[in-house]
Amino acid sequence: MEFLNIKKMILLGVVFTTIFSCGEQTIVETIKVKVDTFISSQDSTNHSELDYLNLSKTASLEERIIFRIPTNNDNEDDLAKNCLDPNNLCSIFLMPIVLLVKILTNCTDAIMTAGNLTSAILIFNTNDSSTIAAGKLNLALLSKPWWHTVDWNKAHPFSSQGKWKTPGGDIDTGVTFSTNCTALSTGSCAAGEIKFDVTNYFKTLISNPNTTHYGAVIYPNANIAKSSVYSVQSNSALSPRIIAHYTGACSALTGVQTKVFYLNERLNY
């Protein structure tokens, strides 16, 4: 009997701690990358609404994935006020800390510090049973904004400045990433998985609020056969996403949390 009471007390203690104190714990957070497309050295068609992305490199053809992580409030009215007035400075490409909290955690409070983020992995999955060998793909940040109709030669169609200086995408060399499936802070690549460790990048964003994020490009650094990859439009659990692990005190949490962010989900704050 006494043993049972002790068990109940321990159980009550766990429940009480979970509900009311919610101390240091590791949380896993999953979001889908918001906008994605692919560009081809042979084709300037708009691929932004397709449910797949292509990666390939041969002597005659190269295909690259372009994507960006959301950086803005999804409220169109606010956007109209702020950005559609040519006299205003537009903050649409600046990554605010409040949004990083939304992307990387389930917390409502601004608990996000670089020290709390233990891992952030960017994941794409092939949809054709193909596997791309580790180390064959590079991830790099882009240095200018791009629009839905981005192609091999131009980022956007609104001026001659919209042309890429380097066909295939202008790269911001100030930030570097390890190649696919190498130097991962968490886990490893299963068949069909394309993973990049983006922990340090997110730590930098957290430490430097309102850093500009124009998006990123994934491109082969050696010849590879064509692989088809799930896009956001595929609306699959295997769509492009970021899985974040973090620790920290967050009063609303009751354990391991999972959150999926879809293209049309409003990200208001």
Binding site: P70, P86, F93, P145, H148, T149, H156, P157, F158, S159
Partner: protein
């Protein structure tokens, strides 16, 4: 092809009417005129904006309208109205209405006015829900000084093109917004034989432009573009043929201009060289 045919029909019609009208020199009206006309690009920009082919943005513009004339003498207050409807194709129309009031003060004619233009596009029109599907309004002040053989004029105009949708992809709307444009024009009308010659230079100080969606932002800075216009008006009885040639210079970026000045009516600036011809019937 369509452009060439329309332009040719207009020129042939003009020639036919003018030939028969030479004998009707007397009784030329001076209250105003009805007009039909056409405009066409002579030299296109090398690039086109998204969703459009070169010919889409250089259509044979066909227009019809009327205009009330300025008084040529006296000091009475006058009003002037100019109404024009431009057809881009069978599904796309741009009405333009301008009205001004003024006074003749001993040879100096001053007027103040305003105007609007907007697109009436069917849903299947290629211009529907693009930057050309906009509403614009303007205010202007014009001063004209007459001499025996010529008159000189100056005009200051401010124009606002209201916000318009550029396109929608992935359920995300991209829109374009404009700051005010300021247009400074000066020129000379010169009587030569029975013709009236026109030389005009216009400086378009085009306001900055913002293009934005929930995923994208791009700003085009303000810039000044010059437009040179040369023209001749040939009176033939109650009729007159008006031909003008326009040349655009000093633009930073021909692609940006498609978004900075998306006007397919009178202020047509979507090609580097363009011409328009108008047949007028004075009443």
């Amino acid at each position: 092809m369509q452009k060439t045919i329309l332009f040719s029909i207009l020129l042939i019609s003009t020639a036919f009417i003018s030939e028969s009208a030479f004998s009707q020199e007397k009784g030329r009206g001076n209250k105003g005129y009805f007009k039909i006309g056409s405009a066409a690009s002579i030299k296109n920009w090398n690039q086109t904006p998204d969703r459009f082919k070169v010919n889409d943005l250089n259509p044979a513009l066909s227009n019809i309208g009327f205009h009330s004339n300025l008084p040529t003498s006296g000091s009475a207050t006058f009003s002037l109205i100019d109404v024009q409807i431009t057809a881009l194709d069978f599904k796309s129309f741009i009405p333009e209405i301008e009205y001004s009031v003024g006074k003749n003060m001993g040879g100096i004619i001053a007027s103040i006015g305003g105007g609007i233009n907007f697109g009436i596009f069917s849903n299947s029109s290629i211009y529907s829900k693009t930057q050309y599907d906009n509403f614009a309004y303007n205010l202007n002040i014009k001063v004209q000084m007459g001499f025996s053989k010529y008159n000189i004029f100056g005009e200051i105009k401010t124009r606002k093109i209201t916000e318009a949708e550029v396109s929608t992809f992935e359920n995300v709307k991209t829109r374009v917004a404009h700051n005010f444009d300021y247009i400074f024009s000066t020129g000379l009308h010169f009587s030569f034989l029975k013709m009236e010659l026109l030389g005009k230079i216009s400086a378009y100080k085009i306001g900055s432009v913002a293009i934005a969606s929930n995923e994208f932002y791009y700003k085009i800075d303000s810039e000044t573009v010059f437009k040179f216009t040369g023209g001749v008006t040939i009176p033939i009885g109650r009729l007159a043929i008006d031909v003008k040639y326009h040349y655009i210079k000093n633009y930073n970026d021909e692609v940006s201009l498609y978004y900075q000045s998306p006007q397919l009516g009178k202020d047509y600036m979507l090609s580097s060289h363009s011409a328009n011809v108008e047949l007028r019937w004075n009443f």
